[in-house]
Amino acid sequence: MVGWEVPIGAAIAFSFGAIGTGWAQSRIGAAGAGAIAEKPETAGTIIILEAIPETLVILGFVVASMIILMVK
């Protein structure tokens, strides 16, 4: 029987990853918009930089999934 701590743990793993990603992307996005405004040729690099923090939320999602699937 799974207790309340499993979904709570999964939620924590996912939400902190999502919050961290959101914060990082907002900062990178602002700076990236500035960089593209001055040098449009940097757009490709900026898009890659903007995507890098996504790994954090993906990691959170994987950990949350593992908690739900593996903790019985």
């Binding site: 900062r27 990178i28 602002a30 700076a31 990236g32 500035g34 960089a35 405004a37 001055e38 040098k39």
Partner: protein
């Protein structure tokens, strides 16, 4: 405050500033036409094309540089939406208002034509071109100050206060000093709150006050002005010079001794200050009382310190300060090159006149 966007744009703009190689290339151009052709390959192209439609030679370059400077800082002000950033930028741009008002007052005082005055103005601050043109149309110094007061422009306050003294002595320096004092007091007041950005701006302003005061002190020593009159000409808000130090320097008989004293501290032991370069100025320059050479060294020091701000925290006002000084220095360098090309100044000497940062 999020400096990310502003910092990224400033750094993008900084990448378009002329590097050493381009400046050297400009120096090596044989004449004015080839200098303009070379400048057209840089970020000044648009402004030069517009300027060439109205003027030729060095006048066209100066017009283009002025327009570029105005356009650049209007752009910085436009993309800085946050209140705090706009305050910091306007502190730097207000000095051009002060400079423009001084130019108009000087022009009116020596009865220069309106066209000549307008050519020397840089409408990058709060006072736009239309306002400045209307000020230039006034017949004399008093009328300019009255119009500023009628429009309730802040710069009227120090001018109105100092005007009776000017009317008595006819010394325009009284009005200029009052304007400078008001500008620095006002700016330091605006950034008096706690915070790293405010502290950085205070530091830059204090450094400028120190440099202005050192120049004034050296002139006072040269012209043997009584130390009692010091407060009339010196600005408040500096860090390097306290009243005791100023009193000690002002009683010295020569500029050489004054420069030597300003290059060291007295307490707790003698050791070099940030103005230690004053001690390295050649003796013949000091003996000949060539203040312009010392002033140039002080200006260089100010520019270098300003541009070094780029090395500070990128998520602060530091990059903005760095860019302001770097752009100012670039325009000054190009002006020097273009003036020297007109005067057939030797290339070897020309390099020494520029400030590389």
């Amino acid at each position: 405050m999020d400096w990310g966007y502003i910092n990224a744009r400033i750094r993008g703009m900084k990448s378009r500033l002329l590097d050493h190689r381009t400046l050297d290339n400009l120096i090596l151009q044989p004449d004015m036409d080839s200098l303009i052709a070379e400048l057209e390959k840089t970020a000044y192209r648009e402004d030069l094309i517009e300027a060439k439609g109205k003027y030729t030679g060095v006048t066209a370059v100066e017009y283009a540089l002025r327009n570029n400077f105005v356009r650049t800082f209007r752009k910085v002000l436009d993309f800085s939406k946050e209140k705090e950033a706009r305050l910091y930028i306007s502190i730097f741009l207000h000095r051009w208002d002060v400079q423009n008002i001084k130019t108009i007052l000087r022009g009116k005082n020596i009865h220069v034509t309106n066209e000549e005055i307008v050519d020397c103005l840089v409408p990058v601050g709060e006072l736009d071109e239309a306002t400045l043109t209307e000020l230039v149309r006034q017949p004399d110094v008093k009328a300019v100050i009255d119009l500023l007061a009628t429009w309730d422009i802040r710069w009227a306050r120090p001018l109105t206060t100092a005007f009776p003294e000017f009317a008595k002595s006819g010394d325009l320096g009284m009005l200029e000093c009052a304007l400078d004092r008001f500008y620095y007091n006002d700016a330091l007041q605006a950034v008096s709150a706690k915070g790293a950005d405010n502290a950085k701006i205070r530091q830059v302003l204090s450094l400028e006050v120190d440099v202005v005061n050192i120049k004034t002190i050296l002139r006072m020593v040269r012209d043997r002005i009584a130390p009692e009159d010091a407060q009339k000409f010196l600005l408040e808000g500096g860090q390097a010079l306290d009243e005791k130090m100023i009193a000690r320097v002002l009683v010295l008989p020569t500029i050489a001794e004054a420069a030597a004293m300003l290059s060291t501290t007295w307490y707790p032991t003698l050791h070099p200050t940030r103005y230690r370069f004053l001690a390295t100025i050649p003796e013949d320059v000091l003996r000949a009382q060539k203040i312009s050479v010392i002033e140039k060294q002080l200006e260089r020091h100010l520019v270098r310190e300003g541009v070094d701000s780029f090395l500070g925290d990128p998520l602060s006002v530091a990059s903005l300060i760095g860019y302001f000084w770097a752009k100012y220095n670039e325009i000054t360098n190009i002006r020097i090159i273009s003036r020297c090309k007109t005067a057939d100044f030797p290339v070897e000497n020309l390099r020494e006149e520029l400030v590389y940062v």
